[in-house]
Chain length 232, copies 2
DNA sequence: CGCTTTTTTGAGAACATTCAAGGCATGTGG
DNA sequence: CCACATGCCTTGAATGTTCTCAAAAAAGCG
């Protein structure tokens, strides 16, 4: 379960103070939000749209470390420089916090810090899941896991049943997130479709046809394993 | 730069209170420290030795998400169950904190929470680097990166120049950390050796012969790229 | 010293990548 | 309104890096 904002821990007075330092920002598709190596002067909260966060190697290879949607937080870091770049995928609305001022506010409101620690811990857990995916899962398992994750997060953000999953990002980005090429992503989707786990409304919309099968194909982690009722 | 303990933020009175809830624990090689799925009742600080943290898939595939050494912290989580297992590699000394009691102490000492947030942010940055490694680097680059990381962390813990790097873990564990098989790990080490970047004192001790070459072979991230003096 | 465990090396197989081409949308200009 | 360009996605064939299987060499340990 994802937190829907860092602000949700605060009361109205505290929110008013937070509001004083925040700017509302818009970004068009493909617009950069932050650059790897730039001074990390701001933190962000995604209010609407989809954002990709990525790291680059010197020769241009790219690893997307995360996709952010409504409610997701961006900017946790110790370094005074961004260690990643962030770019808008769709039209995006953001809350922007000046780092310095937010730090001062944190001094006053320990609840804010607690919230950030929760957020960081959540992201850490997600990062560890992603390491498992990147290090040990097959292409098909990666793709199945990805669709299930997007579905879960859509459910968390509220609304629908999560069986119709939007893929706002191009195949290229999915590949760079899952450690695959664009072609392998495409082929994996095709295989999941032929196996009857999903169907495609269009190239950017997946329907989950058989969630249990998809879970199976995602390569269950130990803790995800459904507990089987003991038969005596 | 890694923090050498969560306690380093506290004064002597606070440390005394921390000391009241802590137990000193020993673990022999291969001894389990925590199990994926068990109630997360404790957090740990490694005082001596080497620990591996890993996640399992239902079919037994394993991803080691981190190695912990002196000063490293274990147990950051939101879940009330461990989402990973931890096992001693060498003989290990640990400080063990009951989760409930530590949480109460955190209420009193915001500095502790700040420290944990720093730790979490550091781990998050490391996790993102590891995603880049697992998703986009070649076997040789992964191995070179791994040796350099171990060297850096040894330097941080103090002492030597970092040119002689101990590998307390077996090849098997290195493979499960780097997303490779044991054979590929071995072959990668051999290649790095033949290229003149490293030499082997014995199978568990690597010497860095040419650090610049090793950096080169590690596949530099954008931010790691040495700034070249402009020639006019 | 003989046993086990770990590490290295070799040969063949496999999964994902690379290279290449074709399909399918969307948008622009004639 | 159609022709054509462009970008994105899918599919095919060949290649390659890493994996699997196998065995030998080296190291640790009683």
């Amino acid at each position: 379960m994802r937190d829907l904002s860092v602000c949700s821990a605060l009361d109205s007075t505290e929110l008013a103070n937070l509001d004083k330092i925040v700017s509302r920002i818009q970004a068009a598709p493909r617009q950069m939000i932050s650059y790897q190596g730039d001074p990390a002067d701001y933190l962000f909260n995604v209010t609407e749209g989809a954002v990709k966060v990525y790291k680059l190697l010197a020769d241009g290879r790219r690893q997307i470390t995360g996709f952010l949607f409504r409610g997701d937080f961006l900017g946790l870091a110790v370094s005074d420089q961004y260690t990643y770049s962030a770019e808008a995928i769709t039209s995006v609305s953001l809350c922007r916090f000046p780092r310095r001022k937010l730090e001062k506010l944190i001094e006053q409101y320990p609840k804010l810090e607690k919230r950030l620690l929760q957020t960081a811990s959540n992201e850490l857990a997600a990062a560890q899941d992603q390491m498992l995916l990147l290090g040990r899962k097959t292409a098909e398992e990666r793709m199945a896991t990805f669709i299930l994750n997007l579905s879960d997060r859509a459910i968390c953000r509220g609304g629908d049943s999560g069986d119709v999953v939007a893929l706002p990002m191009p195949r290229n980005d999915i590949g760079d997130y899952l450690g695959l090429t664009i072609e392998t992503v495409s082929r994996s989707i095709t295989r999941l479709r032929k196996l009857g786990a999903i169907s495609l409304e269009n190239s950017r919309t997946v329907s989950i046809v058989d969630r249990d099968l998809l879970l199976e194909l995602a390569g269950l982690a130990l803790e995800d394993r459904p507990t089987v009722a003991m038969s005596l």
